[in-house]
């Protein structure tokens, strides 16, 4: 019973957070960003239904997101043109139906196998649909895409959804509904069998389940939620274009889900929020942002394959019995070389970027962390390299202590 209560509390907190977020972050940019986060949370969770829950690595999930979005955009235009009484908040249902339909259609051919074959078929289908989008212009609108106007739909209790804040709450509502539904799905017989098929497909066959059917059903439901996310994106941007359907978007959702952590239900939520935030704001801070993205991904794969959620969940039992403070001294000790390492790395990347890319036109003078210096002189390079290698070395020195602290804390946690 306690677990039910804990879950209820978690979802209540989630609802409150969604409701209060615009009060804490009221700026237009924050609203835009949070709206996008809501969309991406649904998208990433739907992807994790495949990767994390069922063990299917897809390279073409954007197909369902995009098709859901295009259908929603057309539906909005159709409703507006014919003055039908359908309000905007009902439009994501169109996305869901579209996602489900295409999930069933393409899933029927792609879920017959698991593993590498599934991944490669998803890659092929992804490329084909993306290319098809370039050919079938009447539906996909060529490069310009399909534009729509959300205000032209019938008002919903007087709301016309012109201002971003209203759109935010619409997305927040759907985000909450979808997250709750997807969480519930994991608690059903079907959800369990997805895990079983992921863990050991052969065994699942010998307890009476057709793994193909389980994969197919997971695929359809996942595509349905991706369709909702796509529809919300169409509402948010009032524009759907073929880039949303392509390999880039498929890669992005993989990145979000993996960085967040595929082993925990809430992992992709964290990943979606972090990556969306970085995507929108990192490009203002550094021109080498794509490099940081790639490095982040590699580092997560190498050092935290459980993603952010995996890292956090190590601390969960400690937090529960109050032993987390035992880790504090070790963390404090590790933070010094870690900060040095990160600062050194950023400095090296930024200086290299400046000297290689910008120095030719802007000169060697540059600013970093508020300091002005000459990128051509050796001193800053020495400092950065010292920070980087010193940090790496220091981290290596203190790492055993952290490992030990973890082990001790965890052992004590188990005893309690």
């Amino acid at each position: 019973m306690s677990e039910t209560i804990r879950t209820t509390i978690a979802f209540a907190l989630f609802a409150i957070a969604l409701a209060l977020a615009p009060v804490v972050f009221p700026s237009g940019l924050a609203l835009t960003m949070m709206s996008l986060m809501g969309v991406m949370i649904i998208f990433a969770l739907s992807y994790n239904m495949l990767l994390g829950q069922t063990g299917l690595l897809s390279f073409g999930h954007a197909v369902y997101y995009g098709l859901g979005g295009f259908c929603a955009a057309h539906a909005m235009n159709y409703v507006a043109r014919n003055k039908l009484g359908v309000p905007l908040p009902a439009i994501p249902i169109v996305g869901a139906v579209a996602g489900l339909f295409f999930g069933a259609l393409l899933g029927a051919v792609s879920t017959r196998r698991a593993g590498t074959v599934f991944s490669m078929i998803s890659l092929g289908i992804g490329e084909l649909v993306a290319a098809f989008a370039g050919i079938q212009r009447s539906f996909f609108g060529g490069e310009d895409g399909i534009a729509t106007n959300r205000v032209k739909l019938a008002p919903f209790f007087g709301y016309k959804f012109g201002p971003q804040i209203q759109v935010y709450y619409l997305i927040a509502f759907w985000c909450f509904v979808c997250v709750a539904l997807m969480y519930m799905l994991t608690r059903t017989p079907f959800g369990r069998m997805c895990n079983a098929v992921r863990d050991n497909p052969e065994r699942a066959e010998f307890v009476g389940y057709s793994t193909q059917r389980v994969r197919f059903q997971a695929f359809m439901l996942s595509a349905m939620f991706a369709g909702v996310a796509g529809a919300l994106a169409a509402i948010n941007f009032e524009l759907m274009n073929s880039q949303a359907i392509g390999a880039g978007t498929s890669g992005q959702v993989l990145l979000m889900t993996f960085v967040g952590g595929i082993g925990h239900f809430f992992g992709p939520i964290l990943g979606a929020m972090l990556i969306t935030f970085l995507q929108i704001s990192l490009s203002d801070i550094t021109k080498a942002w794509m490099l940081y993205f790639g490095l982040l991904f590699i580092l997560v794969v190498m050092f935290a394959p459980g993603g952010i959620a995996g890292f956090l969940s190590i601390h969960q039992p400690l937090l529960r019995n109050g032993r987390i403070f035992k880790l504090a001294p070790s963390y404090l000790m590790a933070s010094v070389p870690l900060v040095a390492l990160v600062l050194g790395m950023i400095a090296l990347i930024e200086m290299a970027h400046h000297m290689l890319v910008e120095a030719a036109s802007d000169g060697a003078k540059m600013r970093l962390f508020g300091l002005a210096f000459d990128g051509a002189s050796p001193l800053p390079w020495l400092v950065a390299a010292a920070l980087f290698f010193g940090g790496a070395f220091g981290l290596k020195l203190v790492w055993p202590r952290i490992d030990e602290a973890w082990a001790v804390a965890q052992a004590e946690g188990k005893k309690a």
Binding site: A30, T32, R137, S281, D284, T286, K287, A360, R367
Partner: protein, 410 residues
């Protein structure tokens, strides 16, 4: 990392709400600053920063300094909309963008809806390089102004020039398979038929956008068709690779292009050794421009090490400053009303007009060819030692294409 502070400001902005005190006039520059498109976007940014410095040196706009806010749209329309929102949050009432017609369409649409929903907070969008016809035809907007010649104008100019070239007999069309490339193909076929009915179109090819690594098969086809002239709207790697494959196969044809002068184009032509065989259509030629323009060109090249690619950006900013002065206001609506129908001096000499009906700018256009510099010509491209030579000039009046724009004015 001068933008690090900007990033910190932005983080603060998230909590603080929209900026209110407007000490400077802010203009959002929303173009690709990362990924493949960045090579063009970065150069564009230099133009605008340089032009802003010029305006500020002359006292700014109504005494306020003009500030360019660089924003990376990653060549993605949806991302561009987010970046526009960011610009507006930072207090910008003007945005400018050029690379990619799909991004331009998204921005024009966004700005129009935004102004509709936020009366009194209007935002104006200046387009300096997106040439899709639809932006000043069926998709035209009061809040969008275009300084680059649209696709029809460029093709009109090319075909007008071809009228005077009797040795052109067989034309091959090869274009990228997307709306712009298809537009070029259609215009070329129609206009050639009207102006040179004797010319035979021996091939009409559409190839996938930015996906071809080896154009040799296409070149084999062009050769087999016996074409003496190729017309293409290709840009980026698609023009560089196309020309390279042509040189490899020894194809002796004249190339009439929109974008052979783009980043990397001159290097590719020089490599292929096609002397004065590759033509492009532009609004200015440094080697024959008026003296004032040549001086600015020299200054720009000395400062940034790149060619002043966008004379139209200069026109845009000069006319912007002029409109602010005439309106005596920084309000986008007032500025827009002044820009409509404005006639102004053009960077390369002569005058140009912003047509009121569709907000399309008209000026004299030049056909150039690329090859070894003539004696006395000052400017080469991309340090190749080769430069552009003017081959023809098409007067603004001769490119006056009709528009279907039915503009909704506020």
């Amino acid at each position: 990392m001068r933008k690090f502070t900007l990033g910190v400001c932005m983080a603060a902005l998230l909590t603080a709400g929209a900026a209110n005190a407007q000490e400077t006039v802010k203009m959002g520059y929303i173009d690709p600053l990362s990924g493949g498109g960045a090579s063009v976007g970065e150069v564009g940014l230099k133009h605008y920063q340089w032009l802003a410095d010029q305006i500020n040196a002359q006292g700014g706009l109504m005494g306020k300094k003009l500030e360019i806010i660089p924003l990376d749209n990653k060549t993605n329309p949806q991302e561009a909309v987010v970046q526009a929102q960011k610009a507006i949050d930072a207090g910008a009432r003007y945005i400018t963008q050029g690379n990619g017609s799909s991004v331009a369409a998204a921005l024009s649409d966004f700005v129009t809806k935004f102004n509709d929903r936020n009366p009194g907070k209007e935002v104006l969008y200046f387009n300096y390089a997106a040439v899709d016809d639809s932006l000043t035809n069926e998709k035209c907007s009061f809040w969008h102004f275009r300084w680059d010649a649209n696709s029809s104008i460029k093709m009109t100019a090319i075909t007008n020039y071809l009228k005077s070239q009797p040795n052109v007999k067989k034309v091959y069309l090869i274009n990228q398979d997307y709306s712009f490339g298809q537009g070029v193909r259609k215009l070329a076929a129609e206009m050639l038929k009207a102006k040179r009915p004797d010319v035979q179109i021996v091939g009409d090819e559409l190839h996938p956008l930015l996906k071809i690594t080896d154009f040799a098969p296409y070149i084999a086809k062009i050769k087999a068709s016996g074409a003496d002239t190729v017309i293409t709207g290709n840009w980026g790697q698609d023009i560089a690779l196309l020309l390279k494959a042509a040189a490899d196969a020894g194809l002796q044809a004249n190339w009439f292009t929109y974008y052979a002068g783009g980043a990397g184009g001159p290097t590719a032509i020089k490599q292929t050794g096609l002397q004065h065989k590759v033509y492009d259509i532009v609004e200015g030629n440094p080697n024959t421009a008026i003296e004032a323009a040549q001086k600015q060109e020299e200054e720009f090249r000395a400062k940034f090490g790149v060619t002043l690619w966008y004379p139209r950006a200069v026109n845009e900013m000069r006319m912007f400053a002029k409109a602010v002065k005439e309106a005596n206001s920084l309000d986008p609506k007032a500025v827009a009303l002044k820009l409509e129908g404005m006639t102004a001096d053009v960077f390369d000499g002569g005058q140009g007009t912003m047509r009121k009906d569709d907000h399309q700018f008209f000026q004299d256009m030049y056909i150039r060819s690329f090859g070894p510099l003539d004696p006395g010509a000052k400017f080469d491209e991309e340090k190749t030692g080769w430069g552009w030579k003017q081959q023809g000039k098409i007067a603004a009046a001769d490119t006056n294409v009709p528009t279907t724009c039915k503009m909704e004015r506020p």
